[in-house]
Symmetry: C2
Subunit: 248 residues, 2 copies
Amino acid sequence: MASQTSAKTHTMRALMALRQRITKGELPGGTRLFEVAMAEDLQISRTPVREAMSRLAEEGLLERAPSGGFMVRSFAYADVLDTLELRGVLEGTVARLAAERGTSDAKLREITEIVRRLDGVFGDEPTEVDFEAYSDLNSQFHDALAALPGSLTFERELARVKSLPFASPSAFLPNESRLSAFRRSLAIGQEQHRELVAAIAGREGARAEALAREHALAARRNLEYIFSTEHSEVTTVPGLELVAPAEK
Amino acid sequence: MASQTSAKTHTMRALMALRQRITKGELPGGTRLFEVAMAEDLQISRTPVREAMSRLAEEGLLERAPSGGFMVRSFAYADVLDTLELRGVLEGTVARLAAERGTSDAKLREITEIVRRLDGVFGDEPTEVDFEAYSDLNSQFHDALAALPGSLTFERELARVKSLPFASPSAFLPNESRLSAFRRSLAIGQEQHRELVAAIAGREGARAEALAREHALAARRNLEYIFSTEHSEVTTVPGLELVAPAEK
DNA sequence: CTGCGGCTCAATGTATACATTTTCAGCGTT
DNA sequence: AACGCTGAAAATGTATACATTGAGCCGCAG
């Protein structure tokens, strides 16, 4: 079959199919999702559809309708800003906690190694940047940061927030086409990574918190740029298509 | 029937029954919950049981087992501390946002009115405090605070955190029996309420954030007191019985 | 004794029929 | 025209039978 996304259970296939349709913006915010229709569409029964919707509600992409059933959660421009703010606040907190409570040498070495490898993606030529490697290592950095204070509570909350497609740490990285123009942004981000790790290692809690917040703010600047100047670029940012267009 | 908790659907009854058992500590953290057993126990079919478990996973009281099914989430002492820290950070953020972005006069008047009514629970005699009214108005204050910046994103996150029984703003309020000893604590809390509203109205973002964090810290102090000195009091704090006892 | 293989049972995954609730169009009344 | 009633269609809630998976047990062979 063509669109066989391949997964073990029907629930998983329904989950992935639905998530993709939502993040691609095919289902506008507020759309009521009907189990029967979805089940027929996916050629499965209502049971796994229901299960998939329930998991998407946990992820925050759907919300339960008061009278039962689910509807697509609508994200306005302001909601995206707030979600990025939220990520900044949470990352700031884990940075502060790691500095205040201390962290294991192993974890500190791990995140330092990630920063070192991020240095490697910048080639000698100004235009040489391994974009894919940067994106991947950047995600690793943010995951390692979340794990630094050893608090499952915060690690879990951050994972939840980052699971929203536009709140992923790599969501607003410049795409390959305009990469040279953004090389400087990446370099600044990398500098912030370095200082953040230094602040944590030096037990400077307030500085670590401020740096992590500022670092997350870069995403907001890119978002504002895209929406104000290069609105056509919206489609190049993963998951930004589900943002309600009218409300700007 | 005796334990008819009264709710419209079987799902809701199962939800409430399960939630109660978990928060009362009858099901230790890590306990695997089997659909069949639970269904037989509640005299209903597997379907509403499954639905109820799914909702409890959203609430954060259950987690999905890797191989399918659910288990009771285990909360160690450190997890409770972190959750209170999380509430403080989030309340600090909504306070700062309300100060930075401003808020509507109506909302400001509403929260001011709640503070005014909180003043009323302190009688003329030192021992006169209407505990129940304080607890109720205190919850209202924290709900109003969460709504101040008009950010559904943050309001939602805070509601999620506060739904954990031990993270509710009123969870660690002194119980009636030792109320006179804690009258001063309540008065200090009320003073913080007042200053917090003043900081927000005066657009002092940093001060508002710091005050809200400090205010949430009172819960941590009470938690530490209970676990270190008055461990027998654990049963008097709603939802504290589900905290794993061994790990202190 | 130890390790491997398959058997068995229990648990979750799935489909489906039926029950209940919600919704809303249609219609009558005021 | 606005309101509310009503009944039928559609959607979710529920029970249950069956399918599939996976973990543990048992016995056999080395």
